[in-house]
C-alpha cells in the first residue's frame, strides 16, 4: 500500500529526561522515526524536554520544541503547529501517557489530530489490566489465575482455586503496602487479613505467583494489511520476579523447542491483533512454567520499548524506523531491508550468534536503597555483547560493564549460608555469586533449586568457571572462544595483559569480525555492523596443515578513517550526553570525507544505530577489544574526548600502544587530571585554586585538613560523577571517610580540598583548535557550591554574576586552553566567592553540558570539536565568537529518588541524577518554571508551603522567599525554629510541631495532600531522621521539595511567573534564528 496522502504533518513526542526505566533508547527510536518520516516527505513536529538528545537537534525535525511534556504545553504546540497526526508509540511510556491524556481531554479531536500506529482504544486495552485480561481470555490466551476477595471467606476460596504460592495485592493502598507472597495456608491467613485491613475498600486481589517461571519476550511488528512478523525472541536468564530491565537477557530464546516457540509466536500474533495495534511494534512478555510448560501472558507494551531497542541492535532490524513507515501506510513488504538491500522488511531475522544484555546498577550511589531486584526496575544502564556462543557473549558483556571485572569472576562472601541467601534472592551481583558457588563445587541441580535460573544457563556458566582453572599456554584459542580476556588469562598465568597479547599474536590467535546481517549469511549484507569472535580456522585439503584461514568479514577501504570511542553503558555521571557527542562526531567526520568507525557497547544509543557511522563495532570498550579493532582497521586517528571518562581512561594506554589520539594530547589530558601537575599548571598561570592537599592515611588527611582548614571536600582521584565525594566538617567525619577509603594508595591518593562555602559554581564549555579559542557557554549554577555539577540546575547566560567576574572567568578559561593547547572541547569548573574566582577543575574533554549549551546557542559544539580534531579550523567553520543568547536557558536535573524508597533526596557532592531537562524562555522565572515542569516538579500556583531551614540558612534569603510566597497568597507553615526566625523578621506563619513531637505533624499533612511545596534545607552531613522522612514522604506524594536556599529563591520566581503570566511555547529553530542571524551579520 502506498503511503498516506491525507496527512502531511506529524507530531512526535519524546520521552523526556532520562530516568530509570526510560533511557536513551527512546532517543534512538524517536530519531529513527523522525528521519524515516522526513525521508518520506512528511513534516515532523517534535516535542521533548531533554536537550541531550539527537532528536532535539534542530536538523532532526521541522519544528523542535524543547518544552515540558505536559498536556497544556502540548495543546499549545498543537494549536500552533496544527499537525494532522500524532504518532504516540515512539516516546516511551511518557509519550504514550501524554498522548492518551490529549485524546482523553478531547484535544486531539478539537484540533483534528488523528493518532496513527495505535489508537486510544488499542492503547487502553493493552494498558488497562482488566481490559487486557478480558481481551486475552476472549482469544484463549492463558493468564496467571486470579480472583478478587472482600472478606476472608472469599479469600480462602480464591486461594484454594488458584493454589499456592499466591500473591496478595490489596487494592487502593498507599505505596503498595500490605501485599506479599503466601506459600502456605498459614501465611495466607495472615497476609490476606492484613491486606483486607490495608485496603481502603477492603478489597484484595489474589493472584497465582509466577515467580521463578521462565520469562520470555517477543518483539512483534504488524502492518496495515495485517502482516505480522516476530523480530526477535528474548529469554531472561533471571526468571520471573525480576524486572526485565534488571534481568540479564539473552537473544534469541535458548531453551524452547520449535513447538513451544511457535506456540508463543502464535499467541503473540493473536495478542497484537486482538489488542488492535494497527501498525508498528509491540513487546509481549510471557512466563512459562519450567516443569509443565504452561504458558501465560504477562503483559503487552503497545509501543516500541527498551526491549525493542535491544532487539533492533541484536538483529539489525530497525524496529522504530520501520514502525514509523508502517504508521504512514506502507506495508512490510514494501520496505526494503537496509542491510541486505535486496530483501524486504517482511521477514523474521535469522540470528547466527548469541546476544547477552547485562544491566548496570548504581547502588553504590544509594547505600540506603534496598539492593534486592524486584519487579520495579532499579538499573541505570545496560551493556550488550555479541558472541558466537553464550559463554563468549556473557564474558564480553561483563567486561563491557566497566565494573572493574575482566570477565566472569567471584565476589567476597561470609559463609555458605550467606552465599546461598545471595543466590536465592535476586541481586545485582548474583552472577558473581554463581561463580563462587561453582568454584565451591555446587552442582547445576543445586543451583537451579536455589536460583530457578534455567539449568542451560547454569551449565554454561559452570563451563566457564571450570575452564578458567585449566587455562594454559596451549589452550589459548579455546580460552578466547570462551570469551576470556587477555587480562583474565594473564591473571591465571601470572603474566600481564601485554605479554598475553604478544603470545597469542605469535600463535595467530586473533579475533575475526563477523556481521550482524539479519539473515545468518543467507544473503550478502551491505551494512558493516560487526562483532568480534574467535573462530576455529579451516584449511584446504591440498595445503599444508599449518596454512589455515579464518573467515573475517571486515571490509577494507581506501578511505581515510577515524575511530570514535563511545561511552559504554549508561551510569550516573555518564550517559546520553556523551553518546550525543559521539554521534555528532561521526556525522561531522563523515561530512569531512572520513570513513567513521564507532565502537560502543550500549544498545540503547543512537551511536550504535548501524547507520550512524560508516562502520559499527559492537564491542566492549577495553584496551584489548579496542586495540584488536585498531589492528585491523588502522584508523588515522582515534577520538577519545567525546565519550566521557570511559574512552578518556583509554587515552594513555592506547597512545602507549602506538595509537594516534587526535585532539588535545594525552599529555595535556594528564596535566589536567593529575593532581600535582594540575597545581603546577594553576600556579604557572597565576590562577587561584582552593587550598588543597592529598592523603593516603588518616593522619595525612587530618594534617592536610588542619593546614587547609575545615570544611574540606574529600574525594578519590580519577572518578566521574563525584563518586565517594564528601564535604567534611571535622576530624571525626574525616577519620570515618578515610577508614572507608580502602582503595586509597600512593598512586591514587585521597584529594583534600578546601570547601568554599556559599560560593557560586560556574561551568564553562569551550572549544579550541590550537589557534582560535572560543567559549561555548558560561553556566551559572543555581544551587551553591557543594552540589555536584551533574545535579545542579544551571543558567545560561549567568543571571547573577557581575560583569567583571564573567570577564575574569573568560580570561582564565582562555589562558588554560592556550596553556594545555586544547584541540577540541574543554570544560572548566569555577567557584566564585564575592569577586574571587577559584578554579576547581579542568576537563579537557566533552562535558555533560555540551548538548545543552549547543541547544542554547544554536551551535553544534561536538560536531565542531570533531572537525577541529581532524584538523579543521574554527575560523573556516565560522565559530570564533562567543554567543550570549538574549533568552534564558536553564538545565535542571532529574533524580531517581522515587525508585529508591526511603533514600534521602538531599543533594550533595556525589552525583545522583540520571537525566536532565531544559527550559527556555524569555526570562528567568518562566525558564525555571518550564524546567521544573519538565523535571516533573509540579510547582503549585496556590496552596500551602512548608518551610524549615537549618540554622545557617536562617538569613535574609529565606525571609524574602517567605514574604514572596505570602504575596502570592500561599499559606506558610513552619516548625517553631524557622517560624520564630521569620516572625522576628516580620513574616508571620503558622507553626506545626516537629515530626518527633507527635501527631498530627507534617507527614500527616503531606499524606492529606495539604502541602504543595516544601522548602527544607539539609542540616549537616548526617541529616536528622525527621528530615529524611519528610523528604522521602514528599517524594512518594509528588510534593515538590527544595533542599537549598538558592533553589527556593528560584522556585519562588518560577511560581511568580506561573501565577502572573501565561507560559507559551516556541520552537528551537526560532530561538536559533535570533542568534544565528546576529552571528552572520557580524
Amino acid at each position: 500500500m502506498p503511503k498516506r496522502k491525507d496527512i502531511k504533518k506529524i507530531l512526535i513526542i519524546g520521552s523526556g529526561p532520562i530516568v530509570i526505566g526510560q533511557a536513551c533508547e527512546f532517543d534512538y527510536s524517536g530519531t529513527q522515526a523522525c528521519k524515516a518520516l522526513r525521508e518520506e516527505g512528511f513534516k515532523v513536529v517534535l516535542v521533548n524536554s531533554n536537550p541531550a538528545t539527537i532528536m532535539t537537534d534542530p536538523e532532526t525535525a521541522d519544528a523542535t520544541y524543547i518544552e515540558p511534556i505536559t498536556v497544556d504545553m502540548l495543546e499549545q504546540i498543537i494549536k500552533k503547529e496544527r499537525p494532522d497526526a500524532l504518532l504516540p508509540t515512539l516516546g516511551g511510556q511518557t509519550g504514550l501517557n501524554v498522548s492518551m491524556q490529549l485524546a482523553g481531554k478531547g484535544i486531539l479531536n478539537k484540533y483534528k489530530v488523528q493518532m496513527i500506529g495505535a489508537d486510544k482504544h488499542a492503547i487502553k486495552k493493552a494498558e488497562d489490566r482488566k481490559l487486557f485480561k478480558e481481551a486475552m481470555k476472549r482469544i484463549g490466551i492463558d493468564l496467571p489465575k486470579s480472583g478478587l476477595a472482600y472478606n476472608m471467606q472469599e479469600a480462602r476460596k480464591a486461594a484454594r482455586r488458584i493454589g499456592f504460592p499466591v500473591i496478595i495485592r490489596p487494592s487502593f493502598t498507599l505505596g503498595g503496602t500490605g501485599g506479599g507472597t503466601a506459600y502456605n495456608a498459614g501465611q495466607f491467613e495472615e497476609l490476606a487479613q492484613k491486606g483486607l485491613e490495608a485496603s481502603m475498600i477492603s478489597e484484595i486481589l489474589i493472584e497465582e505467583s509466577v515467580i521463578g517461571w521462565k520469562e520470555f519476550e517477543l518483539e512483534v511488528m504488524r502492518d496495515k494489511l495485517d502482516n505480522v512478523v516476530i523480530i526477535c525472541s528474548i529469554e531472561n536468564l533471571d526468571p520471573m520476579g525480576v524486572h526485565t530491565g534488571d534481568s540479564i537477557t539473552v537473544a534469541p530464546a535458548q531453551t524452547l523447542t520449535d513447538m513451544e516457540y511457535q506456540r508463543m509466536r502464535d499467541a503473540a500474533i493473536r495478542c497484537i491483533r486482538e489488542i488492535g495495534v494497527e501498525t508498528g511494534g509491540s513487546n509481549i512478555q510471557f512466563a512459562l512454567h519450567p516443569e509443565t510448560g504452561r504458558m501465560v501472558i504477562i503483559e503487552m507494551n503497545p509501543r516500541v520499548s527498551r526491549s525493542s531497542a535491544l532487539a533492533s541492535k541484536a538483529t539489525g532490524f530497525p524496529i522504530a524506523k520501520i514502525a514509523a513507515k508502517l504508521a504512514v501506510g506502507y506495508t512490510l513488504d514494501e520496505i526494503p531491508n537496509d542491510i541486505t538491500k535486496e530483501t524486504p522488511a517482511s521477514f523474521e531475522p535469522a540470528i547466527d550468534y548469541c546476544v547477552v544484555k547485562i544491566p548496570r546498577f548504581a547502588f553504590e550511589k544509594f547505600p540506603a536503597a534496598d539492593p534486592t531486584l524486584t519487579v520495579q526496575m532499579k538499573s541505570v544502564g545496560e551493556v550488550m555483547a555479541i558472541g558466537r556462543t553464550f559463554k563468549e557473549a556473557l564474558q564480553k558483556g561483563i567486561r563491557g560493564l566497566e565494573i572493574k571485572r575482566d570477565g566472569l569472576s567471584g565476589i567476597a562472601y561470609k559463609d555458605a549460608a550467606a552465599l546461598e541467601e545471595r543466590l536465592k534472592t535476586p541481586n545485582a551481583e548474583r552472577l558473581f555469586y554463581l561463580y563462587i558457588a561453582f568454584k565451591e563445587r555446587y552442582s547445576v541441580e543445586k543451583l537451579y533449586a536455589l536460583t530457578k535460573i534455567d539449568p542451560w544457563f547454569l551449565e554454561n556458566i559452570r563451563e566457564i568457571v571450570e575452564f578458567e582453572a585449566r587455562i594454559n599456554k596451549e589452550n589459548l584459542l579455546e580460552a578466547k572462544q570462551l570469551g576470556f580476556s587477555d587480562r583474565q588469562i594473564a591473571a591465571r598465568l601470572k603474566s600481564d595483559e601485554d605479554s598475553i597479547r604478544r603470545l597469542r599474536k605469535e600463535d595467530n590467535i586473533e579475533p575475526v569480525y563477523k556481521l550482524v546481517d539479519t539473515c545468518a549469511a543467507e544473503f550478502e549484507a551491505f551494512t558493516p555492523y560487526y562483532y568480534s569472535t574467535y573462530e576455529t580456522p579451516f584449511r584446504n585439503s591440498r595445503n599444508d596443515k599449518k596454512d589455515t584461514f579464518t573467515d573475517d568479514e571486515m571490509r577494507g577501504s581506501a578511505k581515510k578513517k577515524m575511530m570514535i570511542l563511545g561511552g559504554g553503558p549508561n551510569r550516573i555521571g555518564q550517559g546520553i550526553e556523551f553518546d550525543y557527542c559521539c554521534v555528532h562526531a561521526s556525522f561531522a567526520l563523515k561530512e569531512m570525507g572520513y570513513e567513521t568507525i564507532m565502537v560502543n557497547s550500549n544498545p540503547e544509543t543512537v551511536s550504535t544505530d548501524y547507520d550512524t557511522s560508516d562502520k559499527l563495532y559492537f564491542e566492549p570498550l577495553t584496551k584489548e577489544d579496542v586495540l584488536n579493532i585498531i589492528d585491523k582497521e588502522k584508523p588515522e586517528g582515534v577520538i577519545v574526548q567525546l565519550g566521557g571518562q570511559t574512552p578518556l581512561n583509554l587515552a594513555v594506554p592506547l597512545e602507549k600502544a602506538g595509537v594516534k589520539i587526535v585532539g588535545t594530547s594525552p599529555d595535556s589530558i594528564d596535566r589536567a587530571e593529575d593532581r600535582k601537575r594540575f597545581s603546577e599548571l594553576v600556579e604557572k598561570l597565576r590562577l587561584i585554586q582552593p587550598p588543597n592537599g592529598t592523603a593516603v592515611t588518616v593522619e595525612e588527611a587530618i594534617a592536610a585538613a588542619k593546614k587547609i582548614g575545615y570544611p574540606v571536600l574529600v574525594r578519590p582521584s580519577y572518578v566521574l560523577g563525584g563518586r565517594a565525594m564528601e564535604i567534611v566538617y571535622d576530624n571525626k567525619s574525616l577519620q570515618h571517610y578515610m577508614q572507608q577509603a580502602v582503595w586509597a594508595s600512593p598512586e591514587r591518593p585521597v584529594l583534600v580540598d578546601k570547601f568554599i562555602e556559599d560560593a557560586i559554581e560556574v561551568d564553562v564549555d569551550m572549544i579550541a583548535d590550537g589557534e582560535t579559542f572560543c567559549i561555548g557557554g558560561i553556566l551559572e549554577h543555581i544551587e551553591e557550591a557543594g552540589v555536584h555539577s551533574g545535579d545542579a540546575a544551571m543558567v545560561l547566560p549567568p543571571h547573577t554574576l557581575p560583569k567583571e567576574v564573567i570577564e575574569k572567568i573568560r580570561q582564565y578559561t582562555y589562558a588554560l586552553a592556550r596553556e594545555l593547547n586544547v584541540v577540541g572541547l574543554m570544560n572548566v569548573q569555577y567557584a566564585v566567592k564575592d569577586t574571587t574566582v577559584y578554579i576547581l577543575e579542568v576537563n579537557p574533554r566533552a562535558s555533560r553540558t555540551v548538548p545543552f549549551v549547543s541547544k542554547a546557542i544554536g551551535v553544534p559544539l561536538a560536531k565542531l570539536a570533531a572537525k577541529v580534531m581532524a584538523g579543521a579550523k574554527l575560523k573556516d567553520l565560522r565559530f570564533t565568537r562567543e554567543i550570549v543568547p538574549r533568552y534564558i536557558c536553564i538545565k535542571e536535573s532529574v533524580l531517581p529518588f522515587a525508585k529508591f524508597a526511603g533514600v534521602d533526596i538531599a543533594l550533595g557532592p556525589e552525583m545522583k541524577s540520571t537525566g536532565e531537562v531544559m527550559g527556555i524562555d524569555t526570562d528567568f522565572g518562566r525558564s525555571f518554571a518550564k524546567s521544573q515542569l519538565a523535571a516533573y516538579q509540579n510547582l503549585p500556583v496556590k496552596g500551602a508551603c512548608f518551610i524549615s531551614v537549618k540554622d545557617q540558612d536562617k538569613k535574609q534569603t529565606i525571609v524574602s522567599v517567605a514574604r514572596k510566597l505570602l504575596d502570592l497568597k500561599f499559606n506558610i507553615i513552619s516548625t517553631t525554629g524557622t517560624a520564630k526566625f521569620l516572625a522576628d523578621h516580620g513574616v508571620y506563619v503558622t507553626t506545626i510541631q516537629r515530626v518527633s513531637e507527635g501527631r498530627p505533624n507534617l507527614l500527616d499533612l503531606i499524606q492529606e495532600r495539604k502541602i504543595h511545596l516544601i522548602v527544607n534545607t539539609v542540616s549537616g552531613k548526617v541529616p536528622r531522621q525527621d528530615e529524611v522522612r519528610i523528604r522521602s514522604r514528599a517524594v512518594s506524594f509528588g510534593v515538590p521539595t527544595v533542599t537549598t536556599l538558592p533553589g527556593a529563591t528560584a522556585c519562588v520566581r518560577a511560581i511568580e511567573a506561573l501565577v502572573r503570566h501565561k507560559i507559551s511555547v516556541k520552537p528551537l529553530q526560532k530561538y536559533h534564528r535570533k542568534v544565528t542571524r546576529k552571528r552572520w551579520k557580524k
Partner: protein, 361 residues
C-alpha cells in the same frame, strides 16, 4: 574425538565428533532456523544431505518423543557450532548426541559454521563428507568426488513407506468428513496432523502406487507430499500425477508441487544453495498478504516453462522472486513450494489445509 568435514572443492573444517562415529557423504546445505533441529533431523526431505545449522547453539533442549516428523532421522550428517553439554526442557528425554548416535548419524561440532554457510552461499551447495575414520584429507576428497550428487537421483524410494497405512493420530474435537490419500514421497507427519485437524481421514500410500490404485480408494482429495532430492528423477510419480490431474482435488507440497509442475509439462531447476529455514516471506499474489514460511527445497519449478494459461502462479518468494505456489482451477489443484505444515517453522500458512478441505466439499 576429532572429526573432519571435507567439501568437494577441497575445503577442510576440523571439529569434534558427536553422534555416531564414522563417515557420511551428502550434499552440504545450510538451514537458518533457530529452533527445530529435531524436526529437521527427522524430515525425510533431507535424505542425501548434510545439514549445517547456522544457529550456533544446538542441542539446548535435547530431543523428545513428540517433535518428530517421520519414523526416524534421515539426514546424512549434522554440522553445528556448539553442541550443548546439557539438555534443558521439561519434555526432553534424550540428548541430541545420544539420539544421533543411536540413529547412526555422524555430527561435527566446533567449526566455523558461518564461514561454511558463506562458502556455500558463494560457491553453491556441494558434496561433502563428515569423517572420524580418516585423517587423510586428500583421500577423503577423492571419496567425496566419487560420491553421488543429488541431481538425477531418485531418493524418494529410499524414504517412503513400504505399505499403505492409515494415520491414526486423531485431532481432538474434529469429526472426519473427507477421505484423503497422501502420496508419500517422504511425507512429514505434520502434514498428516494438519489434514486430520481439518477433518480428513488420512490414508498414506507409497509413492510408487499407481493412479488407478489410488482412484480405487475413492478419495475426496489427494495430497502430494514433500520428499527428498531431484524431482525430475522421480518420473513414475510424475506419471501418476499426470493421470490424476483433474480427477479429484489435489494439494501439492514442496516435492509434490514440483511433481505437479513436471506433470503439466514444465521444468524444474536446481537452486544455487536452496531454501532451508523458517523465515522466508512468501506473498500471496491475489491478496498481497505475506506469510513467513518454513522452507526446505533445493529445486524449483521454472514458472516460464509451464504450458497454457490455466495454471497461475499464486505465491512468490519475496527473497528471490521464485515461484512458491501454483493453482489451476480447471484441473482442481493447487500447490506450494514451501511447508504450510511448518514443523519446524511459523504457522502462518496453515490456512492452506482449510482451503484444501473446502475444495473437497
Amino acid at each position: 574425538m576429532k572429526a573432519l568435514l571435507v567439501l568437494e572443492d577441497g575445503t577442510v573444517f576440523e571439529g569434534k565428533s558427536f553422534g555416531k562415529q564414522g563417515e557420511a557423504f551428502g550434499e552440504v546445505v545450510f538451514n537458518t532456523s533457530i529452533t527445530g533441529y529435531q524436526e529437521i533431523i527427522t524430515d525425510p526431505s533431507y535424505k542425501g544431505q548434510i545439514v549445517n545449522m547456522t544457529y550456533p547453539l544446538i542441542g539446548n533442549y535435547g530431543v523428545n518423543p513428540e517433535d518428530i516428523e517421520s519414523r526416524k532421522p534421515w539426514l546424512e550428517g549434522f554440522v553445528v557450532k556448539e553442541l550443548s553439554a546439557i539438555r534443558s526442557n521439561w519434555r526432553s528425554t534424550q540428548s541430541l548426541d545420544e539420539y544421533l548416535e543411536k540413529n547412526n548419524i555422524p555430527g561435527i561440532e566446533g567449526i566455523d559454521t558461518r564461514a561454511l554457510t558463506r562458502h556455500i552461499r558463494l560457491q553453491g551447495a556441494m558434496r561433502g563428507v563428515i569423517s572420524t575414520r580418516n585423517e587423510n584429507t586428500n583421500a577423503l576428497l577423492e571419496k567425496v568426488r566419487a560420491s553421488p550428487s543429488l541431481v538425477g537421483i531418485d531418493l524418494v524410494k529410499e524414504v517412503i513407506c513400504q505399505e499403505p497405512y492409515v494415520w491414526k493420530e486423531k485431532a481432538p474435537g474434529v469429526r472426519p468428513k473427507y477421505d484423503v490419500v497422501v502420496l508419500d514421497c517422504g511425507v512429514k507427519y505434520n502434514i498428516l496432523r494438519h489434514l486430520s485437524r481439518v477433518g480428513c481421514r488420512v490414508k498414506v500410500v507409497p509413492a510408487n502406487t499407481s493412479s488407478s490404485e489410488i482412484l480405487k480408494l475413492k478419495p475426496d482429495g489427494i495430497l502430494l507430499s514433500n520428499g527428498p532430492g531431484d524431482p525430475a528423477a522421480v518420473t513414475y510419480v510424475v506419471e501418476t500425477v499426470r493421470e490424476l490431474l483433474g480427477r479429484v482435488p489435489i494439494f501439492g507440497i514442496c516435492l509434490g508441487h514440483q511433481m505437479l509442475g513436471l506433470a503439466l509439462g514444465g521444468e524444474t531447476f536446481k537452486l544455487k544453495f536452496g531454501h532451508h529455514g523458517g523465515n522466508h516471506p512468501v506473498k500471496e499474489i491475489k491478496t498481497g498478504k505475506v506469510a513467513i514460511t518454513s522452507q526446505n527445497h533445493g529445486f524449483n519449478v521454472d514458472i516460464k516453462s509451464l504450458p497454457g494459461k490455466d495454471t497461475l502462479m499464486t505465491h512468490v518468494n519475496l527473497y528471490d522472486h521464485t515461484a512458491e505456489g501454483l493453482e489451476n482451477k480447471k484441473l482442481k489443484f493447487f500447490s506450494v513450494q514451501y511447508h504450510p505444515e511448518a514443523g519446524p517453522g511459523p504457522h502462518d500458512a496453515g490456512y492452506l489445509f482449510e482451503k484444501f478441505a473446502r475444495m473437497m466439499k
